[in-house]
């Protein structure tokens, strides 16, 4: 069995398998299926400074090899998280990373400051890439200036690990990656969902109440893989790859493209056991290829 430990800044992950924010609740939803502590880390549902009801219904549409969602960051706000959710999840013996979003820079700072004292929250993932909110979210992540400004502001108040989750809905993801790296991001998550839409030809109406939504699932994998490859070559901080990962082979491909760890998202809906299957499959791949340490695979693409 290969050594599976990887390092994201100063976080040592027991293995590179993590969950993607918004697809895994707070981990508790999966307790019935397997021991969540087996994973390298979990990324929670987005947390904002105030309660958010999220978007109108319908919020989802199935699309070929994937889905669109426009949930719109529904959550009860950071105070509720600290008081009611954290006490339930601090039992986990793996990295719990809270996905942080808001509509203002001050809001991002407020959430980060309130999460800072929570011992078991070992890092945050700045969500500057949600395509489903009118203000904030992706609005911050689509220009170098605003992406850098959010990162800098949060860096000023948060001294644990900061991961910045990038949007693929940009012309040059590498320049955004470099901009947030320069302002103190410790790692990057690449990618959030791709903005898309679905139409019902029979009714001639949009399927989603918000008209557009974020595309995820295997449909986005080649785009995600390309962006992980581009970004990881251009920055010195670790990249966490995500986008359509559904099995161990997908995960290995992301590592070869340059990701240090991976996140599994939409596939959790199709198979609640998928994270464990990916973990076991990575082990099996390493054995089959004589890989002694998973780190040998990172960026190990042969040309």
């Amino acid at each position: 069995m290969a050594a599976l430990e990887v390092k994201i800044h100063d976080l040592i992950l027991k293995n590179p398998v993590m969950t993607a924010s918004g697809t895994y609740g707070y981990g508790l939803e999966f307790d019935d299926f397997y021991d969540v502590n087996r994973l390298g880390g979990i990324l929670t549902k987005a947390c904002t400074s105030k309660n958010r009801d999220g978007n109108a219904m319908p919020r989802m549409a199935e699309t070929p090899s994937g889905m669109l969602n426009s949930v719109g960051l529904q959550n009860k706000g950071v105070d509720y998280f600290v008081e009611h959710i954290y006490p339930q999840i601090k039992k986990y013996n793996t990295h719990i990373i809270v996905n942080v979003s808001d509509s203002t820079i001050d809001g991002y700072k407020e959430v980060a400051e309130k999460l800072m004292p929570l011992e078991k929250i070992t890092g945050i993932e700045l969500n500057i890439s949600c395509p489903n909110v009118k203000e904030g979210g992706m609005a911050f992540g689509t220009s170098c200036d605003t992406a850098a400004a959010v990162t800098k502001a949060v860096r000023g108040v948060y001294n644990k690990t900061i991961i910045v989750k990038l949007s693929p809905n940009v012309t040059d993801i590498v320049s955004i990656a470099k901009a947030v790296e320069a302002e103190g991001a410790d790692a990057l998550s690449v990618i959030n969902t791709l903005m898309g839409m679905a139409i019902n030809a029979e009714t001639r109406r949009p399927v989603l109440a918000m008209v557009t939504g974020g595309l995820s699932g295997p449909a986005v994998k080649p785009v995600a893989l390309r962006m992980v490859w581009q970004v990881s070559k251009a920055v010195d901080i670790p990249v966490i790859g995500l986008g359509g990962i559904s099995n161990a082979t997908d995960a290995i491909e992301f590592l070869l493209a340059g990701a240090t760890a991976i996140q599994i998202g939409t596939a959790n809906f199709v198979d609640p056991m998928v994270c464990i299957k990916v973990l076991e499959g990575i082990n099996e791949y390493c054995d089959r290829h004589g890989v002694k340490d998973i780190n040998e695979l990172i960026g190990g693409l042969r040309y």
Binding site: M60, T63, P64, D271
Partner: protein, 256 residues
Amino acid sequence: MAKFIHDFKVVENLPVNKDYFVLYLECPIQLPPILPGQFVQVQVHSSPTTYLRRPISIYDVDRDKNQLLLLIKKVGNGTKALSSLKVGEYLNLVYPLGNSFSIPHSGRVLLIGGGVGIAPMLYLAKYLKTKNVEAHVLIGGKSTHDIIECDKYKPYCEVYITTDDGSLGEKGLVTQHSLFGEQIKFYDRVYVCGPNPMMIAVSKLVEKYNIPCEVSLENMMACGIGACLCCVAPTHEGNKTTCVEGPVFNSKDLKW
């Protein structure tokens, strides 16, 4: 309630007519407790257009044979793929999911199902019988074709039928049935599952008499376990997940 994920063996795939079929699925472990109104998430292996699981109501539970029964209407690619499952094949289920209809200890209740919305009512009727609650069922459909296996209810409850075209039972919508005359007052609780306009119409009628009305929603769903928040229903206490806090809601709690 604990959730499980297992491969169920298809023991029988029984077409009811050209649109409806019943899957008889054998559980590889002893079936855990299952409450009326709960559902399963079925994985469909067929094509890129059926990527996500399908939420399907539990139609019946056969404890003697350790089987779950699902009544399914062929609507899209997913349900069509399920209709062609062969005996001996396996189907992956996440189950049992969601809350349940509330079960009173006595009294008289009315179960109303429209079209394939009748699916959760058979197991509810059976369950109520074990609790000595007097149940009546009102089944509505466009025509005879949509009134599915109504004989199955007879051991557990009185059966009333409406069809839009009058081809079976009383003619008209369920809310036009003669039960909604004087008789409706004698029910202590009403349970409804069917198209939203039907559930709204029924709940408005019975709320007038202050009869509690429970409705089972069929919102679009992704995870089925409360992780994604795609399926929420607006309630007076904010958005609630149809998959965990539902699918059964008190009609008065919903904003519709």
